[in-house]
Symmetry: C2
Subunit: 301 residues, 2 copies
């Protein structure tokens, strides 16, 4: 019942139609770990620079996130600047200061190397491969982003080929497969890579879906309806984190995977309601359960 998350711990500078934030807490591992921490105590395997203040690490510890494998390296923390001004549903990278993430090599404690689930949150596929080499987890899940599909597709496909669960958004799935039909793209990717048992498709405001290898294993849900999306950053990360955190102490069967998808949808709907992880940090399992019941009413046949 353990989950090790390898990914970025970052500063984010964000521009959305609802406002601007400078150098706030961010990163794929941060969002997914906070989301997962509603269900269990996940570990982050990552790196920060000397400019990353202890109180930011304390925010994570307070959520019962194990931070012993977050290295503190000479240099600056990874800093991403992104904009959603043109399209609220699609992040545009304005600037990337790679900092200490550029030479990041994940290092696992003995306990974290033996976690039930290894989650490779969005990160350089080479760091993801290194994590795969060190981990003894039986279940590997991964996520990525358009950048890696563009510049490191070959290495990325190696990571996919070592994974059992793939999280991907609609734009990335089309990029990765070259198809324009999401259903056939998902099926083709799973045909191509036999290790992948489940593909989780994230479609933002349009909801999500999970594909299994069996034709009957397809399940799709709408997103929780929100009038205002302040900042979509971390939605996908917290979707995956919640999905995996929920599954960490459960049997990996179709019924539990369906419920995990709903948990992911609900948790990420909180994420986008405020800038950065502000809202997510205040969310409790009670909030999640309540919104889950509401979402189920909207989806009930």
């Amino acid at each position: 019942m353990s989950l090790s998350i390898v990914g970025s711990v970052a500063f984010d500078t964000l521009f959305t139609p609802e406002g601007t934030r400078e150098k706030i807490l961010g990163g794929s591992a941060v969002y997914s770990a906070i989301a997962a921490s509603n269900f269990m105590s996940p570990a982050i395997i990552g790196v920060v620079g000397k400019d990353f203040h202890d109180e930011k690490l304390a925010i994570l510890s307070k959520r019962n996130i194990n931070i012993e494998d977050i290295q503190i390296a000479e240099g600056n923390t990874f800093h991403w600047t992104g904009s959603y001004l043109e399209d609220i549903n699609s992040a545009k990278t304005i600037n990337t200061e790679v900092g200490v993430l550029g030479s990041f090599k994940p290092r696992f404690s003995d306990t974290n190397a033996k976690s039930k689930i290894l989650f490779l949150a969005n990160n350089d596929p080479e760091a993801q491969m290194e994590a795969i080499r060190q981990s003894q987890s039986k279940l590997i899940a991964m996520d990525t982003m358009n950048l890696w599909i563009n510049i490191k597709k070959e290495q990325l496909m190696e990571v996919v080929a070592a994974s059992q669960i793939v999280f991907i958004n609609d734009e990335e799935l089309k990029m990765l497969t070259g198809g324009y039909n999401l259903i056939s793209a998902a099926k083709n990717l799973m045909k191509l890579v036999s290790s992948v048992k489940y593909l989780v498709l994230k479609k933002g405001e349009h909801g999500s879906a999970i594909f299994g290898r069996d034709e009957r294993e397809y399940f799709t849900i709408g997103a929780y309806p929100l009038d205002v999306v302040k900042d979509p950053t971390g939605a996908g990360d917290s979707f995956a984190g919640s999905f995996l955190g929920y599954l960490a102490d459960k049997e990996i069967c179709w019924e539990n995977l369906k419920e995990a998808l709903i948990m992911g949808a609900v948790t990420s709907s909180f994420t986008v309601q405020e800038f950065g992880p502000d809202k997510l940090l205040g969310v409790t399992i009670y909030d999640i359960e309540q919104r889950k019941e509401q979402l189920k009413k909207y989806l009930a046949l």
Copy 2:
């Protein structure tokens, strides 16, 4: 238990990634009437030119569609040329030969004027308004397209203000309201126009949703998963036609509206599997029921 459909009866020339078709049967009223005819016997109120062959009308009669209010006028039938080569989810108009549709003024027989439901399928808002003036239906439903939002928005809003059910796709809803969030756009439109009791949002491959005036009245479903979409033409029309045909002999209550949405999703999934109405014409209520059960399995919580 009757449904009168005012809309275009047309020739379509189509370009999709899956092929090309020239001057095949099309039109908003045609697609919606064929779809509705799985549940009851709808009437078309429309116009064709002298170039529209009797055997095409016979295709409609054979599906138990009442064609007595299809006028045959001097001139050519409306001919739309559209392309989905750039984006399979969004039609691009290449050419429009308006023909007899340009001076179309709907004329209702006494029976058709008294139908339970009047459906204003996509058409010039001025023709839609004329239909509203002539009809005695208690329930008016309407659809439109980006063209009318661009060039006749004011007249279109008059049609909206006379309707109880609005069918609209995601792109059109954003255009019409100027918003980028679909949920708030839908709510804003309903706030603005108090006549509208239900808004049906069509999102193509991303599914559909229905909004009522009560906060609790929201229901969203994924699309039936298809590997191949040959031609999206008529998907929205057959969605609406099936939705209304299903409702024609039923009480307009939330449970029936939810089922109607599923019927719309299922029927339109057949439409897009072949060019024009080819597939839709061969569909039976048995096919619809079978696929509905399958879709419900994919959506069941």
